[in-house]
Subunit: 659 residues, 2 copies
């Protein structure tokens, strides 16, 4: 081509390009608009905003605004004891709902409590104690209307495992119990502290997927532990480990001499009964009460049966003894000094966090089903107080139970009064009925626990997780197998580690995408999602999908340069050399000094290659920082646009088509 031709040629080419890239931008004139520099923020206000969003995201003090001091005081007391608030509008209709629900969950909790305390290696009455005091405290301080408080399977297992790592529960029963109260005390302190300092968001770091896996694994482990009671294996023939391999080995090695056929017969028949009851309840929501009272019926029937036949003489193990009377004080049993203080603290923190996770998950689920707000931090204070008081009245860690809360909800509970009703029933049981449990066979308790934890294996959730997010599934399975094959602590550790790894991966390796123009619009979208979107010749448009921070700034810079290299390598259709690199900043919600540095380096590298850096739609935080760091002037303020379309419209005429 002669030099004479080129101006005309160029003219034609540019026109053609205008047609392609500008058609849609014409009519919306976004270039009339420049990116607004947000009003300069007062440092104090900015700080205040961050603190508020971090710790007071739920705006708990909303109702305190513009009130007189005395009114504020009343509101404050009501804030700590919500019962004073909802109690005023309490009526007989609500009470009817609560009393039915309370009686139902009481009938469910009594046999469960006795079984769960065995999981925690404690005498059976401690389970009942923990269903008496804590629910009462919660009813006054908690704000969930549906949660049912008491000992739960997973926390009992966790506590039992951690405590027996320190002290042998058989040979040193007293020290073991004292350490349990110490752990309970610190579990409560942990929970209340998190709530008071509004650090409740910390429990959000355990992902849903990790919880599903952990719960499923714990349920399997718990069920396996029940094989001992279910098959009538003697304690000395069983294992103290909880992993599936040790347990199955112990079970099979004891098959010849250790199993007790009478026990298995009783256990198996009642387990079938419980499972059928569960099935009925699931098929027809109207019969929710069938699985709820089935355990108590099993206990009554089997106890009566053993009493009549004196099957305990045939080797059927029975409960034998439950202490009569309500909770004795245990204030002086808590270790406040010595070696066990530290151990109790550590165990308490772990058990407290897990208990919290379970209770908050339950609380939130039911709150969203009835559409009321739940203040997570206030809940934590309530749960913490309840466990601190519990630790002083011979209770071990109590929390919200999945199964009983669901029954409570279906039985039509209206307020936390259902917990009070349950508590009273437990009180009466402790006072008058406990001696009757003497002949209750352990196999029945095992069957009740198996049928209760079986629904914690939420395979449907696991399938959904698999479908939705593969990384989540890895976390889920990691936690599951960790618990089943190693131990609860290891499973928990895996769950937490994978959850954190995911967060770190997210912030280190954000996605980037090449954008193209969707035909007939002025909209630019990811060309991998919208295959019909077309690239603009001579211009590369990259979108960065994350705030640019120190953890990813270097990656983002290098990734953009790699896109450019790739793009230049496959020139193909695009004969025009790439001269403009537009970075779509909409998803870049923030940038820090490292990010600005990375952009400076990017700008320098691009300059050397003869490519102009152009930014589209930086948000307010980013715009602010682009200006204060002077980077806006380095690339030129006229290279920052409100939209990608505006940026393209501006770049196209400047393109040199024959470089």
């Amino acid at each position: 081509m002669s030099p004479m031709d080129s101006p005309t040629d160029k003219h034609i080419d540019t026109n053609k390009m205008d047609e392609r890239s500008l058609s849609a931008s014409h009519d919306q004139q976004p270039y009339a608009y420049k990116v607004a520099i947000p009003p300069k923020q007062n440092l104090f206000k900015e700080f205040q905003y961050t603190v508020k969003e971090t710790f007071f995201a739920d705006d708990p003090l909303r109702s305190f605004k513009d009130q007189s001091t005395s009114k504020k005081l009343i509101l404050g007391i009501e804030f700590i004891f919500p019962i004073l608030n909802w109690g005023r509008s309490y009526n007989l209709k609500k009470f009817r709902g609560d009393i039915i629900a309370g009686l139902t969950i009481a009938s469910l909790c009594i046999p469960q409590d006795i079984g769960y305390s065995k999981l925690a290696h404690l005498a059976p009455q401690y389970g009942l104690y923990s269903s008496f005091v804590p629910p009462l405290i919660y009813a006054f301080m908690g704000s969930s209307r549906d949660i049912a408080i008491g000992p739960v399977a997973v926390v009992s297992l966790l506590l039992g495992t951690l405590l027996s790592n320190e002290i042998d529960p058989v040979t040193h029963a007293e020290e073991y119990r004292r350490l349990a109260f110490t752990a309970t005390f610190f579990a409560g302190i942990t929970q209340a502290t998190l709530g008071i300092f509004r650090l409740g968001f910390l429990i959000d770091f355990l992902s849903h997927a990790a919880i599903v896996g952990f719960m499923g694994g714990a349920a399997i482990t718990i069920a396996l532990q029940q094989l001992k009671g279910f098959l009538g294996i003697k304690t000395k023939m069983f294992t103290t480990k909880t992993d599936i391999i040790s347990v199955l080995k112990a079970v099979f090695s004891s098959a010849k001499h250790g199993w007790n056929w009478e026990t298995i017969l009783i256990g198996a028949s009642f387990l079938s009964f419980l499972l059928v009851a569960k099935f009925i309840g699931k098929k027809n929501k109207k019969f929710f009460w069938v699985p709820a009272i089935a355990p108590l019926i099993s206990v009554v029937l089997s106890t009566f049966f053993v009493f009549i036949t004196r099957a305990d003489k045939q080797g059927v193990e029975i409960v034998n003894h439950i202490e009569k009377g309500i909770n004795p004080s245990s204030v002086h049993e808590i270790y406040f000094s010595g070696d066990y203080l530290g151990k109790g603290f550590k165990i308490g923190v772990m058990a407290g966090m897990i208990a919290l996770t379970e209770a908050i998950a339950i609380g939130r689920t039911f709150a969203s089903m009835k559409d009321y707000q739940l203040d997570g931090n206030r809940e934590m204070v309530a749960l913490g107080t309840m466990n601190v008081v519990g630790s002083m009245t011979s209770c071990y860690v109590a929390t919200g139970s999945f199964s009983r809360s669901a029954v409570n909800y279906m039985a039509g509970c209206q307020t936390a009064v259902s917990n009070i009703v349950m508590s009273i029933v437990v009180f009466l049981t402790l006072q008058f009925i406990t001696p009757l449990f003497k002949y209750t066979p352990n196999a029945i308790l095992a069957a009740i626990i198996i049928s209760a934890v079986i629904s914690l294996v939420d395979y449907q959730a696991a399938i959904l997780i698999w479908k939705t997010d593969k990384f989540d599934f890895v976390a889920c399975m990691g936690a599951f197998f960790g618990v089943v094959f190693v131990s609860v602590e290891i499973g928990l550790l895996i769950a937490v580690s994978i959850s954190f790894a995911k967060i770190l991966l997210q912030v280190t390796r954000p996605r980037t995408a090449i954008l193209g123009k969707i035909p007939g619009t002025s909209v630019y979208r990811n060309i991998q999602q919208y295959t019909e979107a077309s690239k603009v010749p001579g211009v590369m448009i990259v979108r960065v999908d994350s705030a640019i921070y120190f953890s990813n700034s270097n990656y983002v810079k290098e990734r953009i340069l790699r896109w450019l290299t790739d793009e230049e390598a496959v020139k193909g259709d695009y004969h025009t050399r790439i001269q403009f690199l537009i970075v779509e900043m909409s998803p870049v919600t923030d940038i820090d000094t490292s990010g600005i540095h990375a952009f400076e380096e990017l700008h320098r590298s691009l300059e050397k290659r003869g490519v102009q850096l152009v930014l589209a739609n930086p948000g307010s935080a980013v715009t602010d920082k682009l200006y204060t760091s002077n980077f806006a002037n380095i690339i030129g303020q006229d290279n920052i646009f409100l939209t990608v379309a505006a940026a393209v419209a501006n770049c196209a005429p400047k393109l040199d088509v024959n470089p």
Copy 2:
């Protein structure tokens, strides 16, 4: 208003609204386009992509593609030893640049090395040893052209502090030295391991701001340590602590009897000389060599002066003895068993990471200035190998030095050959000249170190950080004060913790914004940034500025509901009840199962309030998950739009203006 009027009324109202909200959307018909469901990804491919972006983000194997096996082998060897690649095009012109640069950094490094080894509590020759072997290894394996390898101030200080916490360097000199080699060995192993497993991104977790603060604090600490040599204070009158308070106390309590005026005189005059030289070098880049050779001149002059005047008899402390000859083997001195193995390992990991951070930061800075790519992971392998070999040849941890690399760059180095030149000069020094250092006064070394570390206090960077990002500034100051007032380890711990806290805060509390329409366009932007943007009556548009993961899903849900509550409370101008909530999903780059759950709960809450949830522009990952989890069907596929404008255009006609 009578019921009769309402239809007309409504009609008019809707029209009016159409005018306001649709004007700009007309002409771009984005509703012709539905959000594309991305092509179903193969699980294996998806996994492969994630692994690639995480570990091979820089695509290091690009050149290996489509090559024969023998070619691949050659490329592989060149990959490990880049010198074989660039060596082929090496020429005399490049050598001229390298030899000048090499001689300059050699003259700078010899006095610095002697001083730095004192910081590490090692005999002076170990500093020189570390400037002989490691640079040679690096020259063959490294890919940075500008970095100058050798002992550096901060790592020497860190090593000295950590090692002397374990062993007293005076009374147990041999064990101390052996532990130093052990730590160096493991520092090298750590670095090489990170590189081989391509985990180099881990060092990105130390933010720029934290590094600035840490370096500044370390510089101050180092300068304070030099007061001992500078004032001629006897070792037994000084403190072993490094915090500013202990050091100043020791300095002033020794003022009466401990200071040596002759020492101070020599030290102060040469420090002035060095600072003037530095000033000249800074004023005029042409005189970069003035500050570079000033230290060596100071050493020569002061040594000569002391030798003539025998000032050492007046209490001026001198170096006294440097071992002659090159590095002896130290393979058998490394602890591969026993108690010190673990301690050496721990110290090595820390020192190795810090050394890595410094070297990579330097490498990247100069690479971007000359616009060449640096493979961080390959660099780590080179640095690691060099330290492993170093630990076996009586060297302690070496890395890239800020000050010497800058001099190297300004002196016109072309390749790593300048390191070889420097290494040869150090070799000659060790073989022939070391005895001459006998009369070098310690005060001169102190002056050289002070003038070297002073530029690590980068107050301009700190000011820029303050202006750009307040949170970064807190990290910077935390690290700074931690180092200055407590110790290097604590400073480092603070720096890492704050960096992590920032990441966690970012993922737990993402920003959200209310969008309004920018007049005259169909663009919707944050109304706080664009104050002229107007809200659309009856419709609330929220943008969520982050991927929605388990760590923030609950917050996002509750924040959106709070926006709605706030919006409903301040109805004011907008008499139309809010009936549509549009969530702008552009910045939501990903969502996990917890996020989907949160959206389900949000949808349920909104339904109860009579508000329809509408999504605008979900990205490919999000769209995919919305469909696989069935949430797209729950809210209705026709409630997902390509743009906010399209969503508004679709909602407006459906609005019930008299609810």
